[in-house]
C-alpha cells in the first residue's frame, strides 16, 4: 500500500491528523501550480484551501485505483479554473496579449530591471489562460500528454497545439526583451 493510500485509510478510520501528512506531501507542488497559474499568492491560497478542503470532504469517494496525486491535481486544476473564471475581466491579473504588446513598449523605454522570479511570473501571466495551463502542466509539472488529457478533458492534439503556441509566445516575448 502506498503512503497516500495508507494515509487516506487512516483519515477514513477517524484520524484527522493523518490528513496533515497528505497536505504536507502535496502542498508545495500544488502551491507552485496555483501561484504560476493564478499569478498572485492571495488567489493561489484561496485555491489551495478550497482544493484541500474539497478533497477532504470527498475522500470517502476517492477510489484507490486512481492515483491520489492525479485525483488531487484534478481538483486543483478545476479550482484554479473556477477562480479565474469567477473574476471579472478587469480584475484579471492575466494580461491579454494585445495589452502585453502595449506594455512591452513601456518596458523597452525603461529597460527590464525585474528579478528572474518576477520576470517569469510576468511572462506566464501574459499567456492566455488556456495556453498557460497547458504549458504549466507540460513544462513545470512535467506530465505526459495522456496524463494532461485525463486531467483537463482536452484532447492530446489540442494540448500539443496549446503547448506549442505557449512556447512560441514565450519565445517571442523573450526576444522582445532581449533585444532592448
Amino acid at each position: 500500500m502506498t503512503d497516500d493510500a495508507a494515509d487516506v485509510r487512516r483519515v477514513l478510520s477517524g484520524d484527522v491528523e493523518a490528513y496533515a501528512a497528505l497536505v504536507d506531501r502535496y502542498y508545495d507542488q500544488c502551491a507552485r501550480y496555483a501561484v504560476r497559474m493564478l499569478g498572485n499568492r492571495d488567489d493561489a491560497e484561496d485555491a489551495l484551501q478550497a482544493t484541500f478542503l474539497r478533497a477532504y470532504r470527498a475522500l470517502g469517494r476517492y477510489q484507490e485505483r486512481d492515483k491520489f496525486s492525479a485525483w488531487l491535481y484534478r481538483i486543483l486544476v478545476n479550482q484554479c479554473r473556477s477562480l479565474a473564471a469567477r473574476r471579472s475581466q478587469h480584475e484579471r491579473v492575466f494580461v491579454r496579449e494585445e495589452a502585453a504588446l502595449l506594455n512591452a513598449a513601456d518596458e523597452r523605454e525603461a529597460g527590464w530591471t525585474g528579478e528572474d522570479e518576477e520576470f517569469v511570473q510576468r511572462v506566464l501571466s501574459e499567456l492566455d489562460p488556456l495556453l498557460r495551463e497547458a504549458f504549466l502542466l507540460k513544462y513545470i509539472e512535467e506530465l505526459s500528454y495522456e496524463e494532461m488529457a485525463a486531467l483537463t478533458g482536452v484532447g492530446v492534439s489540442a494540448l500539443k497545439m496549446r503547448v506549442k503556441r505557449a512556447c512560441d509566445r514565450l519565445r517571442e516575448r523573450w526576444e522582445l526583451i532581449k533585444h532592448d
Binding site: V11, L12, G14, V16, A20, V23, D24, Y27, D28, A31, R32, V35, R36, R41, A44, E45, L48, Q49, Y56, R57, A58, G60, R61, Y62, Q63, R65, D66, W71, R74, N78, R81, A84, A85, E117, F119, V120, V123, L124, P129, L130, E133, L136, Y139, I140, A149, A150, T152, G153, V154, G155, V156, S157, K160, V163, K164, C167, L170, R171, W174, K178
Partner: protein
C-alpha cells in the same frame, strides 16, 4: 515536441518556474483548521453504499417497460390484498405506486438517466461534480442498437455540472450533453452541461 527541440530560452523560463514558491506557513495551518472543523469523510459502507453511490443501472427500453409493468402489478396486487382484507376499497389508490415508479426510491436521491448518441465511440463515461470528475466511476453502457450510450444514476437534489468523456479513434474527448442546459463557459475551452435535480426532477 522532443527534449532536443525545446528552445533554450523557453527551457530557462520553465526551469525558473519550477522553483518552489514561497508559501506562508499560515496557509497550511488554516487548511488543517478548516479540515478539523469539517465532519469526518466517510467511505460508503458495503451493503449501504450501493443505495447512495451513483452507479450504472443499465436498463434497456424493454427492461424499463417490464420494471414499470412489474411495479404496476405489485401496486394492483397490494390494492387487491387491502381490498380483500378490509372488504372495501382503500382511501389511497394503490396504483399511485406506479405513478411514482420513476421518481425517487430514496428520500434524498433521485434517479436520473443520461444518454448520448455516439455510435462511433469505443467507450463513454459520465463525469461530473457528483463523482469528482472521475473517469472511472461512472462508465456508460452502449444501447442494443449500438448508437447511444446510457447510464442511470441516483443524484441528490440540486444543480449538477457534468460532461461526457467519449473515447474514439482520435482519442478521448469531453463533450457536453446536447440535450441539456449548458453550464456557463469557464473560459477554458471545455463545455459542461447542467442538470437540475429537484422535486419531480427536471433537466
Amino acid at each position: 515536441m522532443t527534449e532536443s527541440e525545446r528552445d533554450p530560452n523557453v527551457e530557462w523560463i520553465a526551469r525558473e518556474a519550477r522553483r518552489p514558491v514561497e508559501s506562508s506557513a499560515g496557509v497550511r495551518a488554516r487548511v488543517m483548521d478548516a479540515v478539523r472543523s469539517t465532519p469526518l469523510p466517510v467511505r460508503p459502507r458495503r451493503g449501504m453504499g450501493w443505495l447512495t453511490a451513483p452507479r450504472p443501472l443499465a436498463l434497456s427500453p424493454l427492461g424499463s417497460t417490464l420494471l414499470a409493468a412489474g411495479l404496476v402489478g405489485i401496486g394492483l396486487l397490494l390494492g387487491l390484498a387491502v381490498t380483500n382484507r378490509d372488504g372495501r376499497l382503500p382511501t389511497e389508490q394503490p396504483t399511485a405506486v406506479a405513478a411514482t415508479a420513476q421518481l425517487p426510491v430514496h428520500d434524498t436521491l433521485q434517479v436520473h438517466r443520461f444518454e448520448l448518441e455516439a455510435p462511433h465511440a469505443s467507450r463513454v463515461a459520465l463525469v461530473g461534480d457528483f463523482n469528482n470528475w472521475s473517469l472511472a466511476a461512472t462508465p456508460m453502457t452502449r444501447s442494443a442498437d449500438g448508437t447511444a450510450w446510457t447510464v442511470t444514476v441516483k443524484l441528490p437534489a440540486g444543480r449538477h455540472v457534468y460532461a461526457f468523456v467519449v473515447d474514439g479513434a482520435k482519442g478521448s474527448k469531453w463533450v457536453p450533453d446536447p440535450a441539456a442546459l449548458r453550464a456557463p463557459d469557464d473560459g477554458f475551452g471545455t463545455a459542461n452541461s447542467v442538470v437540475l435535480i429537484g422535486q419531480g426532477s427536471a433537466t
